[in-house]
């Protein structure tokens, strides 16, 4: 039994810059940045902006654009469910700690913990707990969209969005809600880069981006953009003590072959090329979004689905979207033309 994409919206990186991470280790990465539409009628209120990351601001604009397009009533929105996945919750590794090195370097603080702690206290931003709140994206979406029902924030690797879609799939089939928003947003930057590169091992040509979007999922095929007909993941226990990449997407491909396979790619071009070669061994037509956007973390799957919807045609009727997260967990979502 399928579920349906009734509407979608997204925000994608528009500029790319090389960022130096460590002068000592000579590590660097390419960062995809969002261009915020500050003139949008849907741009968040000024009082909220100060505790929002940039990707959250973009998400708030995008959700309201989607709601305007699909025309849900207030009651329908209130009764809708909301499943969210986020990448990093901090844009920059040093944002909240920029004064710490100065405080630690002050010789008068070395033997005076009271003075040192007081200076740390004084230098800490007053709203840091709200700025880094894990569910801030979900709560802001709830606030701006008027969603009051079932909700979860999954996170924070790329499989989290698979889990959100999987949960929506199960919830719709059980009749828990008629409308479910799945929202993904990836906050890329030095914090994300450090977390992911430490988990996977740093490689040259690292590229990751801010990106995100929303899907509105229902049981109703009327005017649907596509059907989601398969939601599957490898049922294996990930291993923490090894970084070895085992490619087993083949186990997830349904019997009926798709017309196109979109894979997320890795965080670096070399591993992405290996993924591409693996996929080409098992499929005739394979593309990746990595070359254009880099890795979009938690937004890989969602942007992949939205990109796939745009490619559906008379000759491309079935598309598979495949992903692997930083712990090696593989997933596959299939969409079909309605």
């Amino acid at each position: 039994m399928a579920i349906y994409v009734k509407g979608y919206s997204s925000y994608l990186p528009e500029s790319f810059e090389e960022e130096l991470m460590s002068a000592v280790e000579k590590t660097k990465y390419t960062l995809g940045q969002l261009e915020l539409d500050k003139d949008s009628e849907f741009f968040p209120q000024r009082s909220d902006q100060k505790i929002m990351r940039n990707d959250t601001k973009a998400s708030i604009v995008a959700i309201q654009e989607l709601i305007q397009e699909v025309g849900l009533s207030k009651q329908e929105l209130s009764a809708a469910s909301l499943f969210v996945s986020n990448g990093a919750f901090v844009e920059s590794a040093e944002k909240y700690f920029k004064k710490i090195p100065t405080i630690f370097s002050d010789p008068s603080n070395e033997s005076n913990s009271e003075k040192k702690n007081y200076e740390i206290y004084r230098s800490s931003p007053p709203l840091v707990a709200l700025e880094t709140l894990h569910n801030s994206m979900m709560s802001f979406i709830g606030q701006y969209a008027g969603i009051n029902n079932h909700n979860f924030t999954f996170g924070n690797t790329s499989i989290s969005t698979f889990y959100a879609v999987q949960e929506a799939n199960l919830s719709l089939k059980k009749g828990i809600a008629e409308n479910i928003f799945v929202s993904a947003s990836n906050c890329a930057g030095s914090y994300s880069f450090l977390s992911n590169s430490a988990t996977l091992g740093y490689k040259e040509n690292w590229k990751e981006s801010n990106a995100g979007g929303h899907l509105l999922l229902t049981n109703d095929s009327k005017n649907a953009k596509c059907a989601i007909t398969d939601v599957n993941s490898n049922k294996k226990v990930p291993r923490l003590n090894s970084r070895l990449i085992e490619r087993n997407w083949l186990d997830l491909f349904p019997e009926v072959k798709s017309d196109l396979l979109i894979h997320s790619g890795a965080y670096d071009s070399e591993t992405t090329l290996s993924d591409q070669k693996y996929c080409e061994l098992h499929h005739d037509k394979v593309i990746t979004l990595f070359n254009e956007f880099g890795n979009m973390g938690t937004s890989n799957i969602l942007v992949g689905i939205i990109h796939a919807i745009g490619l559906l045609s008379d000759t491309i009727q079935i598309i598979d979207i495949a992903d692997r997260d930083v712990y090696g967990r593989e997933s596959l979502i299939r969409i079909e033309r309605c």
Binding site: V24, D48, T132, G142, A198, L240, Y327
Partner: protein, 427 residues
């Protein structure tokens, strides 16, 4: 009411009032409060130095873990608490785990915020800074060099669920829920769905979190949630003099199973997970909806999904943080949702004993509730001397009474309301 029954087979907890479930009930009966000046971190110079900390050395409980994991545990209190919790229960569940089907066993846990204890790296940071290098970036990079998927600091949040997946051979999924004070409550709720809909027959659920560190105390203190310390007790849920919550820490693991699994293996569950309510205020990130509409709905949904009546509720373990506004709102919402004379249902918050463990609050309070059920104990609001509302049965003394059905409430920053209904299977 949904069709398939969901049972709780086993559980354990690391709490400021007890390392392990058995010692927790002793802490309740002895009216121990962990509301104390805390010792693990030097807090001289900041106005917040009270917290409920797990004061015991936990290292014996995870002594068999790998060196890489133990290295990370030095800097990650959440991981230490979770590893200790697993260590506490591993011998007891050793015969149960081989019965799990890898493809039908999932992990679903609530996890708190990432806090890198920068004060532990003071010398390194100073050295980078004196060389005019970007100290924070260089420090993080320096800790990113081993050859495993376990980072020294700054791990993705699924580290904790993947860690448990290795222990419990759970291949169906390894999910984290990141929703502040309801993280583990939602994880437990979602685990029940996963079993009811047949996705899994076993889900290992729970959570881990710690606020007992300098940066968390400063950030929550600056928001006015943790009161400035005056050397006295600081947390007074449902009392007229309440002024803020008590930072805490905990980890808990709960094994939930399908009815079919329980019958097939002739197991004796300790409790049944009856139902839950889970709603979103959609109001403001900074404050709960003063109307409490979604909170009322979550309480109503939990009871109606459980298929019980209000009269059957024997006890409510309240969220009761001890903050002025939240405690009042919770009581009003309970009254509106349950629609009856609230002088009859005993209500207490236990946060004045074990503190607010944020992402682990839900699992800590569920484990405590299971112990209360096992021992037929209704705990008092320990530090309440002047109840804020006499029309409610805010428990004033511990007493013995069977608990068949109970609610446990948690409400989060950003307006998330999650309420669980539990049935005692040991009565």
């Amino acid at each position: 009411m949904l069709a398939n029954k969901v049972y709780i087979l086993d559980y354990d907890v690391i709490s400021p009032i007890g390392v392990g479930r058995d010692s927790m009930i002793n802490g309740i009966n002895a009216n121990i409060s962990a509301d104390k000046d805390f010792t693990r971190v030097d807090t001289k110079g900041i106005p917040f130095n009270r917290a409920a900390e797990v004061a015991e050395d936990l290292s014996e409980l995870y002594k068999d873990e790998s060196d890489v994991l133990k290295n990370t545990i030095q800097y990650d209190r959440k991981l230490e608490l979770l590893a200790a919790c697993y260590g506490k229960m591993k011998d007891r569940v050793a015969e149960l785990v081989p019965k799990f089907d890898i493809e039908k066993t999932g992990i679903l846990i609530g996890v708190g915020a990432d806090v890198v204890p920068l004060t532990l790296f003071e010398d390194l940071i100073r050295n980078y800074a004196r060389k005019d290098q970007n100290a924070i970036k260089e420090l993080y990079t320096a800790f990113s060099k081993d050859n495993t998927r376990i980072n020294t600091v700054n791990n993705p949040y699924d580290l904790y669920s993947v860690y448990l997946a290795e222990k419990f051979n759970a291949g169906a999924y390894q999910k984290s829920i990141l929703t502040a004070c309801v993280s583990s409550t939602q994880a437990i709720a979602l685990a029940s769905d996963s079993i009811r809909n047949g996705e899994c027959e076993i889900v290992i659920t729970g959570g881990t979190d710690s606020l007992v560190n300098l940066l968390a105390l400063i950030s929550f203190g600056k928001l006015g949630i943790i009161p400035e310390s005056d050397g006295e007790k600081s947390c007074f849920p449902f009392d007229t003099k309440r002024k803020g919550t008590l930072a805490g820490e905990a980890a808990g693991i709960v094994i939930m199973a399908s009815e079919e699994f329980v019958k097939r293996h002739e197991l004796k569950p300790v409790a049944q997970f009856m139902g839950y309510g889970n709603t979103l205020d959609g109001y403001k990130i900074t404050a709960p909806d003063p109307e409490g509409t979604a909170m009322v709905q979550a309480i109503k949904d939990s009871v109606s999904n459980a298929g019980i009546t209000t009269d059957e509720i024997d006890y409510i373990n309240a969220h009761g943080t001890g903050t002025r506004h939240n405690d009042h709102l919770e009581l009003q919402c309970l009254e509106r949702a349950l629609g009856k004379d609230m002088s009859t249902i005993p209500i207490s918050s236990t946060k004045d004993r074990h503190g607010h463990a944020i992402a682990a609050a839900g699992v800590q309070e569920l484990c405590l509730l299971l112990e209360l059920m096992k021992h037929s104990t209704i705990p008092k609001n320990l530090q309440m001397t002047s109840p804020c509302d006499d029309s409610f049965n805010l428990v004033k003394e511990n007493y013995t009474s069977p608990i068949k059905y109970a609610l446990t409430n948690n409400f989060a920053f950003g307006g998330i309301n999650t309420v669980l209904t539990i049935k005692n299977e040991l009565l």
